[in-house]
Amino acid sequence: MKRISILLLVVATTFACGGGGDGGGGGDDGSGSGSDDILSKREFDYSAALRIAALRLTGDIPTMQEINSVAQAPDLAAQKAAYETLLTDYMNRPTFARQMFLFWRDTFKMGETAEFDTAAALAAQLTVTNGAYTNLFTQASGNCPTFDGTNFTAAECTNGGPKAGVLTNPGAMKLFFSNFAFRRVKWVQETFNCLKFPVELGGAPVDVGGASPYTGVWPFQSIAGASNGGRVNFQDVSSVICAHCHQTINHIAPLFATYDMNGQFQNQISVPTPLDGAPLAQATDYLPTGEALGWRYGVPVTDLPSLGAAIAADPKVAECGVARIWNWALGKKDIVDALEQVPTETIQSQLDAFIASGYKLKDMIRAVYTSDDFTKF
């Protein structure tokens, strides 16, 4: 906790370009006994939990009958039992499918038209059927179902190419089309890893001629730049160290670059560059010849299905999935856009259960909604 405050203070001071900052800090940073006091003063309120759960899971408030079944239960244990019975009921209603569909729309930042709704439909279908979260990245068929508000209808994606869950979704490929396919990479990173780039810092500092050293984990020369044939200098250090982000981005983006502006798979790179005339990107714009692709340093991939497998195997991706459900349940804003961080310790038990269950989505949601944190106020 204190480290966060100190880091923020350092950042604030740095950001001000030496404009003061007494470096004080000190005082109560909200950690330790103060936080413990606040948390320990909370009490179970299953009526309040029911109301929020009903709004999230059914889209409406509980009925009088439901409210009374919890509120009039004789003791806390009976209230808990009544609440959990209703929770099960809510998660088996058709409205749960609709709510999950809306949740995934919002998570994916896309939807409301047929072509952009299939990714949310797939995720909602996996949720409602208690499928594995990892199928979002690895499923090889049936990745473009439709949802009519009540029922899912199976369908294949028709944009050609390999199939890897939502990673190859035509709507996602179209909506997140951009130069170099970087927007698609950013979407995958932020949606499923819950962090903005850069994400692979912590390497030994290397002086690359910039104002600060390069601290990425990939070799600085592993991405394209003016020195090794790239038409855009991702090794530029004149303002910021571009490689801090592009070390990762450039090892992923070529896989998404074969989808054109309509999200259709092509057999060659089909995304433009910001160079004069907007020529199509080339493989050597991303990486020097011979450099292999990778989800992360030390995690090589060769195609989108192998990328999907690597993402599915990344423990931080599973944690991100739990954190997103956690934030949704507790009424938080977006974990990335609003930096509503969820420390691992907060969701450790739900995360452990999620992994142990084989990443079952519906089970995980139930675990969140029955957690002490959700039911205490």
Binding site: M1, R3, I4, S5, L7, L8, V11, A12, F15, D29, S31, S35, L39, S47, L55, G59, D60, I61, T63, M64, Q65, I67, L102, R105, D106, K109, M110, L175, S178, N179, C194, L195, K196, P198, L201, A211, T215, A226, V232, D236, S238, S239, V240, I241, H244, C245, P274, W326, L330, G331, K332, K333, D337, L339, Q341, V342, P343, T346, I347, F374
Partner: protein, 222 residues
Amino acid sequence: MKRTIIIMASFGLVAGACTDSIEDTQTPIDPNGQTGGSEENTFNHENQYDVWEMIRRLTEEGPPELTSHLHSCSKVRYANLGNVLASLGVNITDTTPVSAGDLYQSGFNALGGPNYANRIRENISINTSGASRMYDIFAAAADQVITAVPTLTRCQVAGVGAQLFDATTNACRADGITCITGYPAQAAHLDFCNLAVSSATDVATGKRLAVAAILAAAYTCE
């Protein structure tokens, strides 16, 4: 914690640019034309957080190690608001100007509805436009809610409907408030409700204000 450090490092990248304005966040265009970076010519490099907002939140609310355990105070989502209004007897398809239905339908943007075409999620923060529009909707809907509650199936227990106000004394009733808020009415709810009714210029206006205020309190912060 590693994630925090990484995030802070991304702050550092911004800091490295050492700009005087946090709005000026685009990567400068390289004079050699090799690393163009702006919305006009390449991928948008808008990729950092508002440090001051983070510091403000950390100061006011506490660190994630605390806040992540606590419920936040978000407003009800747009679609859910429509569901709740409809289930309380409000005609949300009504296009009559300044009716509750009209205000709801035309309030999509004010209420923070998503803009998926531009890759923007729903805004669940409480802001002035959203809160005021929501209150306008509840004020316009109050009469419909008061009328509908006694006959709503969702408000019934063993076939007996709820009432928001006593038919003879006009006193607020707990069952009605419980039904429209989704939470067992407390003494404070009744006190507030009765005060609103008795303080108004007339009973009908007081009832309308009381219901609108209770709904606003219940749904601007879930």
